[in-house]
């Protein structure tokens, strides 16, 4: 497991009993309620990845919130991190909701789960503007190319000329979640595949430490409505065609590791001081260059290539909370005297509008 390889996680294995994480909790504590999704649904495997990573990083669940829109994908926050606050909100509106949550409490780690319909169809506007604002959150799109919960209509990420049982042929070109994120200036753009748990976990591991918005476009097959092997959203096609562009090594801040600059590696220092080492796999790509990221994605989409990995990362751009220069203390937890100015202030105000002033 990519993340567990990094020492930060301090997984303690005792002779007897389950492994405990940094804060002494077993993984079972991080589970959610039983899933009601179809057996084999890609979304369930992503839920498991989230459980693993949050447990491995030793985060306290009460510092994490789970937000989602509406859809099978958006149901999943009920199925992981039972100890965290969660909100299964409205179709396409998760990004807007998240913005408010983050402003209210900057000290929460926000994990947003959405679907391709939720994000690319009804929610595309909020998605693009959340990226512009660089709101500090992990934005996961569980992308299966269909509307699962409403029984298999085409979504905006469905393949051109694809045929679905009750839907006929889709003649429209797909929207590419990663390209949309990038053109809106998202500061972390990655693509992965529910069938590649190792990569999903390593990307999640970095995303959770990212300064701004981390967009993960995870191809997550819908076994009930869109798992035909011709579909680019199927397990079969994914396994056949996945091209991994880089692998991730994570080095926590407090470790004394000196980074020697290999040609086949890129190091990125995260906002919290830790380091991410990206080992090139397959083709040459610099994930810190927006131009390179844009070319890579354009090229992949025109040639129907299924590239996965960390496509773009920028740790330098301010996130929304920083732009607003909010108090370190969460606004939601401020004491009353910081919320209401004293009497004399109002007297002064009245005076400026008062007769004779």
């Amino acid at each position: 497991m990519a993340v567990s390889r990094s020492a930060s996680d301090k997984i303690v294995r005792r002779d007897r009993g389950p492994a405990l994480n940094r804060i002494g909790l077993p993984k079972t504590d991080y589970r959610g309620r039983p899933s009601t999704l179809c057996k084999g649904c890609g979304h369930d495997s992503i839920s498991q990845r989230i459980i693993n990573v949050v447990w491995a990083q030793g985060l306290s669940q009460h510092n994490v919130v789970k937000l989602s829109g509406i859809g099978c994908s958006s149901k999943t926050p009920a199925y992981f991190l039972q100890g965290s606050h969660g909100f299964n909100s409205l179709h396409g509106r998760m990004a807007a909701l998240s913005t408010g949550v983050i402003v209210a409490n900057r000290n929460l780690r926000v994990i947003g789960v959405s679907g391709d319909g939720d994000t690319a169809s009804i929610g595309i506007g909020h998605f693009k503007h959340a990226a512009r604002r660089n709101i500090p959150m992990t934005y996961i799109v569980e992308n299966n190319g269909v509307y699962g919960l409403t029984k298999g209509q085409f979504s905006a990420t469905a393949d051109t000329d694809q045929t679905l049982k009750y839907q006929g042929v889709n003649k429209l070109p797909p929207l590419d979640i990663c390209i949309e994120a990038l053109t809106a200036n998202a500061t972390f753009v990655a693509r992965s595949f529910a069938g590649d748990p190792r990569q999903v976990e390593s990307l999640l591991g970095v995303a959770l430490r990212h300064r701004g918005i981390a967009v993960l476009d995870i191809i997550s097959p819908c076994v009930t409505f869109n798992n035909d092997e011709q579909s680019t959203k199927s397990y079969a096609w994914g396994r056949e065609n996945e091209v991994v562009i880089n692998s991730i090594d994570f080095i926590p801040e407090h470790e004394e590791i000196e980074i020697s600059d290999y040609t086949d590696e890129t190091e990125v220092q995260m906002h919290d001081g830790s380091w991410v080492v990206l080992k090139k796999v397959g083709e040459d790509h610099d994930p810190t260059s927006k131009a390179a990221a844009s070319d890579l994605l354009e090229n992949a989409s025109t040639n129907g290539k299924f590239i996965t990995g960390l496509i773009y990362i920028d740790e330098d751009r301010e996130n929304l909370v920083e732009m607003l220069a909010l108090t370190d203390e969460s606004l939601a937890l401020l004491p009353a005297h910081k919320l209401r100015p004293p009497t004399d202030v109002l007297d002064e105000i009245n005076r400026t509008y008062m007769f004779g002033s």
Partner: protein
């Protein structure tokens, strides 16, 4: 105002000279800066102690279209809009003909010399003002000419109604703080115009202004949107997420301007608030609800079209029980309607917004003072009841300057509602359920994200849920949950601002109204009383209503609901809430983009009674 209203007289019935009791309309084109001249006049009068009101009738564009600004002086303290005008300042050739045609005998017209009156009317005095010549000596840059030129009519009015130039200078300085040069330039033009009148007009105007006491002392002159914004400042707002729309933009912009003045963290000097301009109204309300869910105070300000777009999210907040405050500065609907005209057309929408069975708490401020009061109280109500709270103001109250009692410092401390601390929730452990009605008031206890307890977390949803917020399709659970929400709504009836009742001995007819109609209703009652017809008056300050309203209706032979919309929306709601119908409870509603007037209200009342 009670002490002043006694002995009200009807305009026209007054003996010559008519002091502090007339109306003046300035007709210009917008984007010409005439607003400064108008406000200088208004401020001058206010500071002379004259009860005064200014209504700006502006177009929905940025530059060049007709604008009218009406200033009413009323020594008796009536600050409602009034039909007609005694003095017309005619600066806009485009509307000169109709503007002048509207004048009645005894009227006075001051017009730019470039405008030649089409038809000279009997009994009207015309004064031509050579604006162009007057400003020539000041060689003003072309860009500023019309702007400065507008000061000419201030001078002319000053001469006509005898305004002391010192007062005008004071008003000018407070209007253009720190811009001494501009003040002097403008004052120069005003003087020039004043002297021009002295030398060229020999005429004594019947309409006069005289400094007076007894009304404005201790009062403030402020627009409702600014007062509402200050209410937010003192209400502890944390997030203002908004999308621009007339006439609500000035509320959000006032928050953006005042929060940094008054709400920086005393310890760190950093903001304890955020103002975020969203991509649309759906995002605006979504952000505010996100903040409310996370335990902060979130609000948005919008108008009709925004309310429509917010329906789905408001329904979620209603059903998931999340506090949020929505200001609706009403403008004329349906649809885009008239963005710069006032109305009270969103009462029903706001009260029942969202599909399915929903009803919301709606507040109706009737003055800038109440805009401030409800501005902070709305947050307490929203958090106490874990609901969306609407505050319905309108363009007239929100964007015009009103004389108001000063803003009152909140008597109660902030009420954050039923939020469990980590210790409390630890103590309850699995016994706690987000939607359990422990206290019988229908209000559950909530936890906010970040509460350090393994028991604090719960899962919020807009789908059917049980007491523990778990998904459920069980019919009994659904019904039980809706019953509790209804119980909560009924609890709110006596917690929201109650009605204000003003009675007259022997009244058998009751009047009910709300919001910005108050001054007009008060004036109408005085007019009627002067004609020997007494009425009682109940001003609704919030929905849902309580027993007092039912009793008021029961106690009168006939109750007339007066409102500024086409359908009599408040009348409809009250009929259902109090099981009353015509002829016991009748509707007097009108909606043409203008604030209601005492004359219209009085005639409606007389009409109903004489039927």
């Amino acid at each position: 105002m009670a002490q002043l209203r006694t002995g009200a007289r009807h305009v026209g019935a007054a003996p010559q000279p008519i002091v502090n009791d007339f109306a003046l309309t300035v007709a210009t084109a917008n984007g010409t800066g005439s607003q400064t001249s108008n406000l200088v006049l208004l401020r001058t009068l206010f500071n002379m102690g004259v009860p005064v009101t200014g209504k700006n009738l502006f177009p929905s564009n940025i530059q060049g279209m007709p604008t009218w600004y009406t200033i009413r002086l009323s020594k008796d303290g009536y600050i409602a809009r009034r039909e007609g005008k005694e003095i017309l300042v005619c600066m806009n050739p485009a509307t000169a003909v109709t503007d002048m045609a509207e004048m009645e005998a005894g009227g006075i017209v001051v017009h730019d010399a470039i405008i030649r009156p089409a038809a000279i009317k009997e009994g009207i005095a015309y004064h031509s003002l050579p604006v162009k010549e007057l400003i020539k000596p000041f060689n003003v840059p072309t860009a500023l000419r019309t702007y400065v030129g507008n000061m000419a009519y201030v001078g002319a009015i000053a001469w006509l109604v005898e305004l002391p130039l010192v007062e005008i200078e004071k008003a000018l300085s407070s209007q253009l703080p720190g811009k001494e040069k501009a003040v002097q330039l403008n004052l120069g033009v005003i003087r020039a115009a004043y002297e021009h009148c002295q030398t060229h007009y020999e005429y004594t105007c019947p309409y006069r202004v005289a400094a007076m006491t007894g009304h404005n002392e201790g009062r403030i002159l402020i627009d409702g949107n600014m007062a509402a914004a200050l209410g937010g400042v003192f209400g502890g707002v944390n997030l203002v997420s908004w999308y621009p729309i007339t006439p609500s933009s000035s509320l959000a912009e006032a928050l953006a301007a005042t929060l940094p003045q008054y709400r920086l963290d005393p310890d760190t000097g950093r903001p304890t608030f955020a103002v975020v301009q969203a991509e649309d109204e759906i995002a605006a309300i979504g952000m505010a609800i996100g903040a409310g869910w996370a335990g902060a105070r979130g609000m948005t300000a919008t108008s009709g079209p925004g309310i429509s777009l917010m329906s789905e999210f408001i329904g979620l907040a209603y059903f998931a029980e999340i506090p949020v405050v929505i200001w609706d500065i009403q403008r004329m609907g349906p649809s885009t309607g008239l963005p710069t005209r006032t109305s009270q057309g969103d009462v029903l929408s706001a009260y029942t917004l969202g599909h399915g069975d929903t009803h919301h708490v709606v507040l109706f401020p009737g003055s800038p003072k109440e805009c401030f009061e409800f501005g902070h109280e709305a947050f307490d109500l929203a958090e106490k009841f874990q609901i969306p709270v609407f505050v319905l103001s309108d363009l007239d109250l929100g964007m015009n300057l009103w004389i108001s009692d000063p803003l009152e410092y909140p008597a109660k401390k902030l009420d954050r509602g039923k939020i469990l601390s980590s210790h409390e929730v630890d103590a309850l452990a699995s016994a706690w359920g987000r939607y359990k009605d422990v206290d019988g008031d229908g209000i559950g206890y909530r936890t906010v994200p970040g509460t350090p307890s393994r028991w604090a977390g719960y899962f919020t949803r807009g789908t059917g849920h049980d007491e523990n917020s778990r998904y459920s399709e069980d019919p009994e659970i659904w019904e039980k949950n809706l019953e509790r929400i209804r119980r909560k709504f009924n609890t709110a009836r006596d917690a929201v601002p109650g009605p204000v009742i003003d009675t007259m001995p022997g009244a058998r007819v009751g009047l009910i109204s709300m919001g910005s109609n108050d001054p007009a209703v008060q004036e109408a009652r005085d007019r009627l009383q002067a004609e020997g017809f007494v009425t009682d008056y109940l001003r609704i300050r919030a929905l849902p209503v309580n027993g007092q309203v039912r009793k008021f209706i029961a106690d009168h032979e006939m109750t007339i609901v007066i409102e500024n919309n086409a359908d009599g929306q408040l009348h409809g709601i009250l009929s259902l809430e109090t099981d009353s119908c015509p002829p016991r409870l009748v509707s007097a509603s009108r909606c043409n983009g203008l604030p209601l007037t005492a004359r219209w209200i009085a005639s409606e009342v007389v009409g109903f009674v004489s039927r």
